[in-house]
């Protein structure tokens, strides 16, 4: 059974979300504050973490930061009730895979959860290894090596990079990338994909600009000279 962790101090909301997600066939564990949330998350036995930003004790951003230092492979969906776009971007920069602003339609939450969970090694489109522009993608092990160095990627970053490598230097549109990595179309005003790309670039030691922005169209990989 798929196990989810919900870190939110809003007990009423948590219990209602538990009902909904349980009905969808997930096993939900609750954590009412940051400390508990971090401990449970680090136990590593969850398939997805739902994380609220405003938490007593350590807040959602700090929790995420510490979590990502040790655990990269678990997808994280941020739930935020704060309005600033900066807050949303900040979560993504710290390694969240996607965010959902409160109030949200519960069906949307379920859809996002499903989209993030869809990517398990056995459901990947092409299990055979891919190679382009110095990147070596091994879908079976969820591993990407760049110039013979293993990149520490979050699941979303892995999916974006895999889609780019699959494109073999062709422009991959933002919508394609969004569908491949986040399982949804990009909304207008949505900068999440740009933040993910920027995160990936930061992890590439040499020539991060080989992931090229094609303005208005998308991204592509440049073959190294």
């Amino acid at each position: 059974m798929t196990k989810l962790l919900l870190v939110d101090d809003d007990a009423e909301l948590s219990s209602m979300l538990e009902q909904i997600l349980t009905k969808e066939g997930y096993q939900l564990t609750l954590a009412p504050d940051g400390e508990t949330g971090l401990q449970r998350a680090l136990s590593g036995s969850y398939d997805l973490i739902l994380l609220d930003v405003m938490l007593p004790g350590i807040d959602g951003f700090q929790l995420l930061q510490r979590l990502r230092q040790q655990l990269r492979s678990t997808p994280v969906l941020m739930l935020t009730a704060r309005g600033d776009d900066d807050d949303r971007v900040q979560g993504l920069e710290l390694g969240a895979d996607d965010y959902l602003p409160k109030p949200f339609n519960p069906r949307e939450l379920v859809a996002r959860v499903k989209a993030l969970l869809r990517r398990t090694p056995n459901t990947s489109v092409r299990p055979e290894p891919l190679e382009f522009a110095g990147f070596h993608v091994n879908p079976l092990q969820n591993e990407v090596r760049c110039d013979e160095q293993t990149l520490e990627l979050t699941p979303t970053e892995f999916d974006i990079l895999r889609a780019l490598v699959q494109g073999k230097g062709q422009v991959v549109s933002k919508d394609q990338l969004s569908v491949a990595a986040l399982g949804r179309q990009l909304a207008p005003f949505d900068r999440s994909l740009d933040v993910h790309i920027s995160n990936i670039r930061k992890k590439i030691e040499h020539n991060p600009e080989r992931i090229q922005t094609v303005r208005g169209r998308g991204y592509r990989l440049l073959q190294l000279a």
């Binding site: 809003d10 009902q19 909904i20 405003m54 009730a81 309005g83 109030p103 339609n105 005003f189």
Partner: protein, 463 residues
């Protein structure tokens, strides 16, 4: 501030001191030029012509001041040794005005000549202990020379006054205008939302200008504090309103799921509630956006934007959401510029206007663009509805204003136009509305065009 720090007093004193300095320097100059000339050695010619007369010692005893010696020469002063104290006789008129010159010349060792305003003083000539000074009228040439030197003195005085006052004016201007310029700059910085002002040492001044500078600094700081408070409040309000709303939404879905009817959506009350919860969410979102725009809390991400593509994408997205509505949006070819602006904000401006038009009218909505010159363009959103009464055109952009109350239930929350206007202002533009002569409402978005270097356009954007 103490009374002696007052700018008025300082200005007064400064003007006074500087005017006094100019006047006195002119005055001193005049004195300098009108100073009697230094005595010169007697020319041989005069000594020769006088020597026959003066070689006769008997003549000295009879000489008293005022007496004419020979020709033009009169006696100006005489010293005759007698028993006891020496007897000094001076010509009375000269003694009044030039006593000092007379006495100093009498003590000279060699005969000399000294020019006075009314004559040339010669001497001393003597025989044994007797000495006399002579005076003769000035010749024509000498008088002329005197006039020239007087004129020179006058010129110099005028020049000193002219340049002195100019220098003072420049100094005063500098002293007054420079801090004023700094203050103007600082005011602009405050308007632009700066916290730290570039006033340098101006706030340390003791006078009114210093006080103004300090007041400006305090104002900038207070504004910063209030902006921060506003930001925090926005964040808090947003959190406090959104959390219960989120719960309501989840609860609604649960109650719909709990409904024993197979078709849960059939319960009209729950559907109504669900719609209103969505609306409430939209209203909160928009009020917050409006407030962020008005308080300058929106961070701009300027990048090259092809406005034509933006309009087309917008139309396509509207079609994606609602095919019937999307079909009504027509993007006309025109002079759509490529400009460096924040694409999301620009999209917000146009989208709200288009949505508004879609909501209030049933016909085609045309999007077009006109360029005025190289620097500005106007994007036009025109519908083919009934238009808006002239007197209500201005109110269109007020928050929560709705043109037609009877369509209230169907229309949005009444914040779209207000948002458009504020967002356009943030982008350095404006939004105005008018009724098109051929019918329908035409909303104009006037925007500045930020030109791009070709190379910049091709550059990669940092994601």
């Amino acid at each position: 501030m103490r009374w002696y720090h007052s700018l008025t007093l300082r200005l007064l004193l400064l003007f006074w001191a500087l005017l006094f300095a100019v006047a006195s320097s002119g005055f001193l100059l005049a004195i300098w030029y009108s100073q009697p000339e230094t005595p010169e050695p007697l020319s041989a010619e005069i000594s020769n012509s006088l020597s026959p007369i003066l070689s006769d010692p008997s003549i000295f005893s009879s000489l008293t001041p005022g007496r004419i010696l020979a020709g033009n020469y009169r006696v100006a002063a005489a010293v005759t040794p007698e028993e006891g104290p020496t007897r000094l006789q001076l010509e009375p008129n000269l003694a009044n005005t030039h006593r000092r010159e007379l006495l100093s010349l009498l003590d000279a060792h060699e005969p000399q000549q000294l020019r006075l305003p009314n004559g040339m003083l010669l001497g001393p000539f003597g025989f044994e202990a007797q000495r006399i000074l002579l005076i003769r009228p000035l010749t024509e040439a000498e008088r002329e020379q005197q006039q020239i030197s007087a004129k020179q003195a006058e010129d110099a005085q005028t020049l000193v006054l002219l340049f002195g006052s100019l220098l003072i004016a420049v100094l005063l201007g500098f002293w007054l205008v420079r801090p004023l310029k700094k203050l103007i700059g600082a005011t602009r910085e405050i308007a632009a939302g700066a916290d730290k002002l570039h006033l340098k040492r101006l706030p340390k001044r003791n006078d009114e200008l210093g006080e103004l500078a300090r007041a400006l600094e305090t104002a900038a700081h207070d504004l910063k504090v209030s902006r921060d408070a506003q930001r925090r409040l926005l964040s808090d309000v947003s959190h406090e309103l959104r959390s219960p709303l989120a719960r309501m939404q989840v609860a609604l879905m649960l109650s719909q799921d709990d409904d024993p009817d197979a078709n849960a959506d059939a319960n009209p009350h729950l559907v109504q509630m669900s719609r209103d919860v969505d609306r409430l969410g939209t209203i909160i979102e928009r009020i917050l956006s409006l407030s962020r725009l008005e308080n300058g809390l929106v961070k701009l991400h300027p990048e090259p934007v092809n406005t034509y593509e933006l309009a087309q994408t917008l139309a396509a997205d509207l079609t994606y959401v609602d095919e019937q509505q999307g079909k009504r949006v027509l993007v006309l070819k025109g002079e759509w510029p490529v400009t460096a602006t924040d694409d999301e904000l620009l999209r917000l401006v146009i989208e709200n206007l288009v949505r508004n038009a879609l909501q209030y009218t049933d016909g085609i909505i045309e999007l077009s663009c006109v360029r005025h010159d190289n620097d500005r363009c106007t994007i036009l959103v025109r519908d083919h509805g009934d238009g808006v009464p002239e007197e209500q055109l201005q109110q269109l952009f007020e928050p929560f204003y709705r043109g037609d109350p009877s369509r209230n239930h169907k229309a949005g929350v009444g914040l779209g136009m207000a948002l458009s206007l504020r967002a356009a202002n943030v982008l350095g533009g404006s939004v105005t509305a008018r009724n098109h002569p051929d019918g329908g409402l035409e909303v104009s978005i006037n925007l500045p065009i930020q030109h791009l270097q070709e190379t910049e356009q091709e550059q990669q954007e940092p994601a």
